[in-house]
């Protein structure tokens, strides 16, 4: 009974917080002055057609660094929680072997998916997409191989090495921007190139590719930790 009352009280509190936002709300026709700057001069500043990418990588790049750190912390927590969690013999018996059709289909699909992931994060400054999406596509490719039983597990050394290298180079490029250009994570120390070419927008494609590699290897390691039978020595 007490629980139910507390439940209703918290729902009412949520409504009280949210209702003032609705009050006197019409259709918005203007964006905030900050967004106005990004929309009007972001394209000339960075020569990148996708303004969301400019915001993620450059203007709010420090936030992205923080988010990548949070992702790393969460991945570390998951690995820690699954470490030493071994399946019983009983559990392992129930695991079904994959079929040959699925295994060969998955090994056929893996390179296509991998290349598609790389395409997504190298074209992040030109079209919708970027490091996070591309990294997830690569992680799903690894997941496909894991689930279809083509490989027993993703190498922990490889994922941790890739992830650490990508993270360190991300910070190094940020410091390079501080040294050669206007500020931390400023991508303008590389030539800005021509409009909507793949080698344009300064270091934005490089930074987003590093984010993609980092996210992809991290999520692959997480999925590996969740799926693997726990038989590691």
């Amino acid at each position: 009974m007490l629980k139910r009352i507390l439940l209703i009280v918290s729902m009412v509190l949520l409504a009280l917080i949210l209702l003032p936002l609705l009050e006197g709300l019409g259709e918005q026709t203007h964006v905030s002055s900050l967004a106005e700057y990004y929309l009007s001069s972001g394209a000339d500043d960075l020569n990148s057609p996708n303004l969301v990418t400019s915001v993620v990588v450059t203007y709010r790049g420090l936030d992205t660094l923080g988010e990548v750190t949070v992702l790393f912390a969460a991945a570390a927590g998951i690995m820690l929680a699954f470490k030493g969690l071994k399946m019983d013999e009983k559990e392992r018996e129930k695991t079904q072997g994959p079929s040959e059709l699925l295994a060969s289909g998955a090994s056929l699909l893996f390179p296509i998916l991998f290349i598609f992931g790389i395409y997504i994060f190298t074209h992040g400054h030109l079209s919708p997409g970027g490091g996070f999406q591309g990294g997830v596509v690569i992680a799903s490719a690894a997941l496909l191989l894991l689930l279809s039983g083509v490989i027993p597990g993703v190498s922990h050394l490889m994922t941790s090495l890739l992830e650490a290298l990508a993270g360190a180079s991300y910070v190094a490029i940020g410091l390079l921007g501080l040294y050669l250009a206007a500020g931390f994570l400023d991508p303008r120390f590389l030539p800005r190139g021509e409009w909507s070419g793949i080698f344009s927008a300064g270091a934005i494609p490089v930074i987003y590719s590093l984010v993609g590699i980092k996210v992809g290897s991290e999520l692959s390691a997480v999925l590996n930790a969740m799926i693997s039978k726990g038989g590691e020595k």
């Binding site: 729902m11 929309l39 992702l71 969690l85």
Partner: protein, 118 residues
């Protein structure tokens, strides 16, 4: 459109919070978290929306000059983009804790996991 998105976001957030607080099954509570997450993402996208807005990606359909008048706010989009990825990691973290809890005490009911309570 903006009002509709706001109302939708509130409804989804309320459903998610209700799920977290009223359900006692561990997986259902985590599903409630992910629904609450989706509601917050819709709210942030709604804050960035403007009337008749298009995506802030410059191409033949949207020239540099028109962007100021027509494109939606790119900042909330960028925030939600990263928030979704963090949401996945946090959901996976919660699920891994759920697996550990069930291993210590094999029941799915959150009320029966007593040793974690004060």
């Amino acid at each position: 459109m903006t009002q509709l998105l706001y109302i939708l976001a509130f409804v989804v957030m309320a459903i998610g919070l209700w799920g977290i607080l009223s359900r006692r099954h561990l997986i259902r509570m985590i599903i409630g978290f992910s629904i609450l997450d989706t509601g917050i993402h819709i709210l942030l996208v709604a804050i960035g929306y403007r009337k008749g807005g298009t995506a802030p990606i410059l191409d033949e359909a949207l020239s540099k000059g028109e962007a100021l008048m027509n494109a939606v706010d790119p900042v909330p989009s960028a925030l939600v983009l990263t928030a979704i990825v963090i949401g996945l990691a946090v959901t996976a973290l919660m699920l891994s804790f759920a697996v550990r809890m069930v291993q210590n005490n094999p029941t799915m009911n959150a009320d029966e996991h007593k040793e974690l309570k004060w």
